[in-house]
Amino acid sequence: MSHNTLLVFEVTILVLAIFLGIEVISKVPALLHTPLMSGTNAIHGIVIVGAMVVLGLPHKGPFTWIIGFVAVVLASANVVGGFVVTDRMLEMFKKRDKPEK
């Protein structure tokens, strides 16, 4: 695939993702806005893929070693922290922990 064809594809999915995102998120009730924030927080931790690719480059100099390593550390903190904190929060949302009187 030529570079330009790929770019057009990428822009296409970018635009579709915007509309999809708005569609899905507008259905989230205000009740869950904090878990929504921390959940999307965890999702942008996907940048870990980029950090891994950088640190995993063959024939890299010390500059890339250091930058890549720090990026992997930051991104993994983002991913793990984001999902764990969201899980802790969502666990708490209950209808009623005892039967109605």
């Binding site: 899905v24 205000a30 980029g50 992997v72 991104a75 993994s76 922290g81 984001g82 999902f83 969201t86």
Partner: protein, 463 residues
């Protein structure tokens, strides 16, 4: 693993993320959704490990262990009241990672002859710029929320000018890079400048405006991740980043609407600046404030049919959520109907109060959003305001001179009686006078919110 298989598996990750967001539409499935999303993230990480051409496995694993260990530790230990700063912190590190990836990418492609392709250059510049602003801005938001630095807006003469100059400088460095000026220091200058911009841009924003800022920084990190996707030609980064970008932007707009203020006003208005003038006005037209004892209030509550609690940031500060829940249980056992009215911008992040009350095991069916809560006040006997101020200020409805005029509020003054739990008569965070306190229907219960509630529980038991 080959290119096609890798990308097909990344598609699985994309689908799990969409499902995670989709499941958030109801608290009943939301947790399952989050677990599906986490599983999808694991798939993406495993696939990346298996990608052809990847080296240094052990170093990557070590980095993950350090970062993941820190993330898990912090996420397990954090108190629910400290959630806004935790979200800010995780948001910041994500932005920082995106900025670093762009630095490394430029470093990798620069030795090649000729200029980097314009679109790749643009993506590198954007993710460096946005990621860096998000990182530094989130750290300042974290420091403010953690009270490492003062929460009040910090302003100085020429602030807007300095910010604008800094931003234009960064933009110029970015344009030069995209146009093909091959100097790596330009990107460093851009990253550094953007970080300083991020700091200066969040510093003047007051604590009460944090819900907007945190949502916006969340959107920024998402956009930075999406830009990183263009650098690395990775669909999973583009789609996931953009989903977050859309979510953050939408939340930012919702929060702005809930305060009836434009986003520009929140970001560049330094809201707390009105303090001096508003306080001066407040001193002028005081009026009588009725103070009550816990026993008085307990009688009102115990003989009511319907009580609505209105929580605000003060509830989080006093960590009174469990005590409020106990009081509510006690009232329910006496046959009182109890619910909670929650303003969209109560607290320091979107949905902050809901999380605190959920932590105290308040069933979410009792948590009412503003539109649902407001019509109920006219048939409410007692509205109990716990640490909220601006979101119940009737001036927002009627006083054109008030800085919060036009902001939708919870109409607690429609209730038969209002009890306000408040530390003292000092004006709230934004320093705006609140005529609700002088309303003849209102009684004030002064003191720490937690202590007051504990006293109320005792008094209701004997009432």
């Amino acid at each position: 693993m080959g290119y096609n298989l890798t990308n097909l598996l990344y598609l699985v990750t994309i689908v799990t993320f969409i499902l995670a967001l989709r499941f958030l539409s109801s608290p009943a499935h939301a947790r399952r959704g989050n677990q599906i999303g986490a599983a999808g993230m694991l798939v993406a990480i495993a696939v990346t490990f298996a990608r052809s051409g990847l080296t240094s496995y052990w170093v990557i694993a070590l980095g993950m262990l350090i970062g993941g260990g820190f993330g898990a530790f912090a996420a397990r230990r954090v108190k629910m009241t400290a959630m806004p700063q935790m979200v800010a912190l995780f948001n910041g590190v994500g932005g920082g990672a995106a900025a670093l990836v762009s630095l490394a990418e430029l470093h990798r492609i620069l030795p090649e002859p000729g200029t980097p392709k314009v679109d790749i250059g643009l993506a590198i510049v954007l993710s460096a710029l946005i990621g860096s602003i998000s990182f530094a801005g989130s750290m300042i938001a974290f420091a403010k929320l953690q009270e490492l630095i003062g929460g009040r807006p910090i302003t100085y003469a020429g602030q807007q000018f300095v910010n604008a100059a800094l931003f234009l400088g960064c933009a110029a460095a970015g344009i030069a890079l995209v146009a093909g000026v091959q100097h790596e220091w330009l990107l460093w200058a851009l990253v550094g400048g953007a970080a300083i911009f991020g700091i200066l841009f969040v510093l003047p924003i007051g604590g009460a405006d944090m819900p907007v800022v945190i949502s916006l920084l969340n959107a920024f990190t998402g956009l930075a991740a999406a830009a990183t996707g263009f650098e690395l030609e990775s669909n999973v980064l583009i789609v996931s980043g953009m989903l977050v970008g859309a979510s953050g932007s939408l939340l930012t707009m919702m929060m702005g609407r809930a305060m009836n203020r434009s986003i520009t006003n929140v970001l560049f208005g330094a809201f707390g600046k009105v303090t001096a003038e508003a306080a001066a006005v407040a001193a002028g037209d005081g009026g009588n404030v009725r103070s009550a004892t816990p026993e008085d209030v307990a009688v009102m509550l115990a003989y009511a049919h319907k009580v609505v609690f209105v929580p605000g940031y003060g509830l989080a500060v006093a960590q009174a959520q469990h005590d409020v829940r106990q009081l509510a249980d006690l009232l329910e056992s006496k046959g009182v109907e109890v619910s909670y009215a929650i303003h969209p911008v109560a607290g320091r992040m979107p949905g902050h109060m809901n999380v605190l009350l959920a932590e105290a095991n308040v069933p979410y069916t009792q948590l009412k959003e503003m539109d649902e809560a407001n019509p109920e006040f006219s048939r409410t006997d007692v509205a109990v305001v716990v640490g909220a101020n601006d979101v119940v200020n009737p001036d927002a409805r009627s006083n054109k001179g008030s800085p919060i005029y036009g902001m939708p509020i919870l109409n607690v003054d429609n209730a038969q009686a209002v009890v306000v739990l408040k530390r003292s008569m000092n004006p709230g965070f934004a320093g705006i006078d609140n005529p609700l306190f002088y309303n003849p229907k209102t009684v004030m219960l002064f003191g720490d919110a937690k202590e007051s509630i504990v006293k109320l529980i005792q008094a209701v038991k004997t009432a």
